[in-house]
């Protein structure tokens, strides 16, 4: 039973940041912390963990985020 009054347009899907998965943001933060640690204390393993964190953050990210931000976090 199809085709009567056609209704349009999706609501902006889920613009409720409170419900979203916080993983990419945490990982971003951790990555920065570790990279600072690695730089200041000259600990190589810190820097490696930072790289991993930024990768994980990227993999979990929402598409709405900037690719520029991603790239800078990789740095």
């Amino acid at each position: 039973s199809p085709l009567p009054p056609a209704r349009y347009k999706p609501p902006a899907t889920e613009t409720n940041p409170a419900l979203e998965d916080p993983t990419p943001d945490y990982m971003n933060l951790l990555g920065m912390v570790f990279s600072m640690c690695g730089l200041m204390l000259k600990l190589k393993w810190c820097a490696w963990i930072a790289v991993y964190c930024s990768f994980i953050s990227f993999a979990n990210s929402r598409s709405s985020e900037d690719t520029k931000q991603m790239m800078s976090s990789f740095m």
């Binding site: 199809p2 347009k9 999706p10 609501p11 409170a18 393993w45 979990n60 929402r62």
Partner: protein, 482 residues
């Protein structure tokens, strides 16, 4: 921060002490010269030890990862030393003037090696070697990263394939029921894109609209995060499945007022705690559906018995029994507003907005190890959704039920108002104070003294009137009480 600097400074001291040891072997080094000055006491020692074994001069570069040991042909002239210095940059120019040396090239020598034997071949410590072994940490890490990237690509592709398999299976049914299938909200006109909308690597959306009764239907394919290796590893401990979540928004006139849910017991318990409407309107614990022939795995949450009776018709029971393993939860609610919002105290001044909604959550079979073929088994569930839409439109409460429902809703609203009464009072109070303050300011700013006086008088009169009104009210209440 201060502690950090102290810590680093403390680290420097033993490091520089360890450098001093090199004095034994590195006399005349550019760097060692600096150290020689600081640790002059060692210099004597080194000179003595060096003169003992005149045949060999061992130099090491400690900054770079290469260790070279050289014997220099030493002439008595300083010039040779200087030449050697400029050549290598790290040769010594110590007092061996009297002795002649031949230029040997010996095997790399360690910084630890004692100067006792004329020729000792010692292992170079790892950080000075130039072989693969010294980089084992890096190699390990890079391998890990490569593994992660590979998993990302594989997981992303799998999710993509699953999504499109689902869509291909369901496309026909959707297109026959909805005028608009697929819309991402960006185009000016409403035309079917006929495509899934990818939100990120594991969530795909599809908006369908253009059907009687419902405003629209949003389908969310919530896959597992196959693209994230951490998640993959976590799932090995705790299996989970992909989910398909369908949210149908009903038109106001097409659904009566009731709140009802059916699903797995675990899911219902969770929803009852989380969802605003279920927690307010369905006070009882989830009941078993055995009375209607439902399997034990499913339970029912309902606002009132009449709703359950009305909902559980033969076809619905058939759907629920046959596909019980794939059903996580089904929720029909006219007071749907999503999960309970965590708000700070004092902020909640209005009830959240509600919309008449049918919400379905299905589990994809396979519990993580799904293949695109499994998507076909979800097709009957979509039929159930369509059927439910029509059913929700047809089902109307009888008079009794409607009365009960209205009472419930009034009760909930009243509770809410009571809860926020204090906050609303405070808000009103502060608003009144603001008004007064604004008025006073206006009066102060008024330059004309005449006008000022007049405004003040007006304000006074208003205050008096208010006081009188209050007094009247108090009198009335007293009279009524009597």
């Amino acid at each position: 921060m201060k502690n950090l600097y102290i810590f680093i400074a403390v680290l420097f001291i033993p490091w520089s002490f360890s450098l001093a040891k090199y004095d034994d072997f590195e006399d005349g080094d550019d760097i060692m010269e600096y150290d020689d000055n600081d640790f002059a006491e060692f210099e004597d020692v080194s000179e003595d030890t060096v003169t003992e074994s005149p045949q060999r001069i061992i130099t090491t570069e400690d900054d770079e990862e290469e260790a070279t040991v050289e014997l220099e042909g030493q002439d008595e002239n300083q010039e040779d030393f200087d030449d050697a210095d400029t050549q290598e940059g790290d040769t010594e120019s110590e007092p061996y003037d009297d002795e002649e040396f031949e230029g040997y090239e010996e095997k790399p020598d360690a910084s630890h090696s004692k100067n006792k034997d004329p020729i000792t071949i010692v292992n170079v410590p790892a950080h000075l070697q130039n072989s693969w072994e010294s980089y084992y940490m890096e190699i390990l890490m890079v391998t890990g990263l490569l593994a992660y990237i590979m998993n990302y690509i594989i997981g992303k592709n799998k999710n993509n394939r699953l999504a499109h398999a689902w869509f291909n299976t369901h496309r026909e049914l959707l297109e026959s029921n909805f005028a608009l299938v697929g819309d991402d909200g960006t185009s000016k006109e409403a035309t079917s894109t006929g495509k899934l909308n990818q939100e990120n690597e594991h969530i795909y959306n599809l908006w369908c609209s253009g059907r009687v009764c419902c405003e629209g239907m949003l389908i969310q394919l919530k896959f597992l995060k196959r693209q994230d290796l951490l998640n993959v590893l976590a799932r090995m401990m705790r299996p989970a499945s992909d989910q398909v979540q369908i949210k149908v928004t009903m038109n106001d006139e097409d659904m009566d007022t009731y709140v009802f849910a059916v699903g797995t017991r675990k899911a219902l318990v969770r929803l009852q705690k989380e969802m605003q409407d279920l927690s307010e309107f369905c006070s009882d614990k989830p009941k078993s559906g055995a009375k209607y022939g439902l399997p034990d795995s499913l339970a029912i949450l309902s606002e009132m018995g009449e709703v359950t009776e009305g909902m559980m018709d033969a076809k619905m029971i058939h759907f629920l029994t046959h596909y019980a393993d794939k059903i996580d939860s089904v929720q029909f609610s006219d007071q749907f507003s999503g999960p309970k919002l965590m708000q700070e105290e004092g902020q909640l001044t209005k009830l959240p907005e509600t919309k008449k909604t049918l919400l379905f959550t299905f589990n994809v079979p396979g519990s993580g190890n799904t293949s695109p073929k499994d998507m076909e088994s979800l097709l009957p569930l979509m039929s159930m959704v369509i059927y439910s839409i029509d059913k929700a439109k047809k089902f109307r409460l009888n008079r009794e039920g409607k009365q009960k429902a209205d009472k419930n809703r009034a009760r909930v609203e009243e509770n809410f108002l009571k809860l926020t009464h204090v906050q609303r009072q405070e808000a009103a109070q502060s608003r009144r104070e603001e008004k007064k303050r604004a008025e006073k300011e206006r009066i102060m700013n008024e330059e004309d003294p005449e006008k000022q006086r007049r405004l003040e008088e007006a304000a006074l009169r208003r205050e008096q009137k208010k006081l009188e009104k209050k007094q009247m009210k108090m009198k009335q209440i007293k009279v009524k009480a009597m």
